[in-house]
Symmetry: C2
């Protein structure tokens, strides 16, 4: 016992000291970001000076160049780009949709779904068939669907606190194939949002090679409610819709990467990231300008504080999350090809509303190790580290054994603006944005310091 | 052992069953509030049909009547009012403030602080003395302060994640007395908010009987920044200010109470509450329309679900939190006088931004008991139960041994709108509001079921 005691004391002393150092490091990071943070100003530039930046667009290229410059200004040791080819879908003219019944007509607030084919140039006019669920559609007699426009009116379920999007987005993604299989000529889906307003929400839809590709649009939730009422009263209600969106040949684009090289184990790589592309209806402020700017802020804060992380930390602006994840695939492909050792990746792509928890996905040992740090995060609003972490852009790294994590914002505002015209800079709160950056920087630095 | 085992099994089985019942009860509450909640519509009425409702105003009386009706519609077993006398301060005409220097002038965005005396009818014109802190003021030579208007320009500190308000509000509360002691003729304080904009934020200030009462106003943060720059460049900068606010005789008002009588232990009382009065510059949406409507929703959801709580649950709309807490004092005074047994009270008065944690303040045994329920709350976004719970309106109950709690919203948006013209209905998110009500109803029901 006598011999052991000093060893135990030394060990405990060391552990306590490490804890103290970590506490100080996190406090310094938080103070730096909250006092001198650049994420908000950078986001303003991305939103107001560039704006919508769908993959393949001229604005997406401007965003590549702007964030490369921001990473340089943040002090990254190296800034580089990874070329990748991306889908290039264009919306074309403002879409039209008019409901006609009984000699009357009413125009709707609509937008084409991403990836949709256009209508013939004279548009499509057909009777509207309202469908509440895939289950209801499956029970239909194909003869009753053939030649109609299927109106999927499945509301995002209010009683689902967090799972409502995943549940409802199935109709946006899978509606066109399901309806076309039964002979429908087009599809209109209710926008995937809890908000009851006139904003149509876009987002990617899917086709299958073996099924006719029919045009697909979204209408606002208020239009969906109105149309539902009308259809309960009237028969033979028709929808005229016109869209000239189209898919052009793939275009060249880039992931943008800023890196701080690890001082002791530079080959162990930690990725922080968001996606640089956005839908074309608004500024992509919360989706995902905030994630991108939080990642750049990780680099800026570390350099501003003069911290020299033991392992390599990257901020990655992934291209093409919205309609292809080509950037994410390229990043993982190159990681594998270059035999990079990616130990940890965290993505922020659920809106810049602060961060109440950090989602984790790793081995039991990794989860246990990271969760030991959780008390360090409480002063900055991160109250939990549940399972289920990850993100679309970092997911392809999983096959090379990378631990996954995500910035989980609380609140319920994300889907009010998601993929809609109101996803603008004004809806981002500076301090909430910064607290997300603090969470990302803090966990990246802890992994850089202690490994996994 | 053989004898003990069935007992243990029965005990564990009972505990597991209770847990299951609680899980189901909370899920039912959440579903009811998220699907059929009335808090948002009720809040719209309070904000848009009534609006500002400072104690003693005609609008405050309208709010008393409206919430009594809402509680009746919510199905409360009894709805009653507790009379109390409240301070009656009136702002009077729109305040004026103009900076004059070097033959130039610039008007500022200002408002009188609550409780301030007015200026003489011709206003006050005096040289501006910028002071950054009480420490700086204390070091001043009184001759350099005498006859001047002290401009307290203490920003809410960005590095304080949650404590910034308490730190900065000291200047709003204590500035007039500190400055008057040294002979200042008036005070202007920087608004207590992180937001950099043109909204002046009001709020109560304090006087001391032994110190001259001097007029006190707040200016917007952008005005404060501008004036700070000007004062660095120019000498002899003067401020003209005019306010005709005044304190009238105390006025009669009411707390409004809706109650569900406990089915088994009606004498054990659980209070949920918010405050009904608001400052006069806006609609008092987040401060504290949301807390009031969440409390009414507690009653509505319980009655709609047909739950019969074992202990009595009240929703209390406290009057006069903003400038006197007379309603809160009256509630506690009557509780004591009537020998009511108040076991638990929870207040929502930090904005209706959802609820990421429930703050607690009770005995170690009480804290431990309530924290055992914490996992039940996670599906609804309540991730922690830290110490430090309570609220201004329930605080007077503490002396009769009541356990205190508070709805703690995450996010950083509250002080952007607090006491300012932008505290309006449009800045409240329906689901965040409802999640706060779910948290309140859930903890009230658990205490009603299991006691403390």
């Amino acid at each position: 016992m006598k011999k052991l005691l000093p060893v135990i004391c030394a060990f405990l002393g060391g552990a306590a000291q490490a804890q103290n150092n970590d506490t100080t490091m996190l406090r310094n990071v938080a103070t730096e970001v909250l006092k001198n943070g650049k994420a908000y100003d950078n986001l303003r530039f991305l939103c107001k000076q560039i704006g919508p930046r769908l993959s393949g667009s001229a604005n997406a290229q401007k965003a590549v160049e702007a964030t490369a410059r921001m990473l340089q200004e943040a002090g990254a040791d190296t800034v580089y780009m990874q070329p990748c080819m991306v889908p290039h879908w264009v919306r074309g003219d403002k879409e039209q949709a008019t409901i006609r019944w009984n000699g009357k007509k009413q125009s709707l607030h609509v937008c084409a779904l991403g990836g949709s084919v256009g209508t013939p140039s004279k548009g499509i006019t057909a009777e509207v068939l309202e469908i509440q669920s895939f289950y209801e559609l499956e029970k239909m007699n194909p003869a009753d669907v053939k030649g109609k426009i299927v109106f999927f009116n499945y509301p995002m379920q209010p009683q689902l606190v967090n799972g409502g999007y995943g549940d409802a987005v199935r109709y946006r993604g899978g509606g066109p194939v399901a309806a076309a299989k039964l002979g429908a000529v087009a599809v209109m889906v209710r926008s995937v949002t809890h908000a009851l307003d006139y904003n149509p929400h876009t987002g990617a839809t899917r086709y299958a090679d073996s099924v006719t590709k029919i045009p697909a649009m979204a209408c606002s939730t208020k239009d969906a409610e109105w149309l539902d009422s009308l259809l309960k009263q009237e028969k033979g209600v028709k929808l005229y819709m016109k869209m000239n969106c189209q898919t052009l040949p793939d275009a060249p684009s880039f992931n943008v990467i800023g890196e701080i090289r690890g001082s002791e184990k530079p080959n162990e790589i930690i990725t922080t990231g968001g996606h640089l592309d956005s839908w074309d209806l608004a500024e992509g402020a919360h989706d995902d300008g905030t994630g991108v700017m939080q990642s750049i802020e990780v680099i800026r804060a570390i350099k501003a504080l003069g911290i020299k992380p033991k392992r390599t930390i990257r901020a990655v602006m992934f291209m093409n999350e919205e309609n292809g994840t080509r950037g994410a695939n390229k990043y993982a492909e190159l990681a594998e090809q270059n035999k990079e050792h990616h130990i940890f990746a965290i993505e922020s792509d659920e809106g810049g509303f602060g961060c109440v928890s950090i989602g984790l996905d790793g081995s039991a040992a990794q989860m246990a190790k990271v969760r030991e740090w959780q008390p360090l995060f409480k002063p900055y609003g991160v109250l939990d580290m549940p399972g289920g972490g990850g993100g679309t852009d970092i997911a392809p790294l999983k096959k090379i054994g990378t631990m996954m994590a995500s910035v989980n914002p609380g609140g319920q505002r994300y889907f009010d603006v998601h993929h809609a015209p109101n996803d603008v800079f004004e809806n981002v709160n500076k301090r909430e944005l910064e607290l997300g950056a603090i969470a990302m920087a803090s966990i990246a630095l802890l992994v850089a310091e202690h490994g996994l």
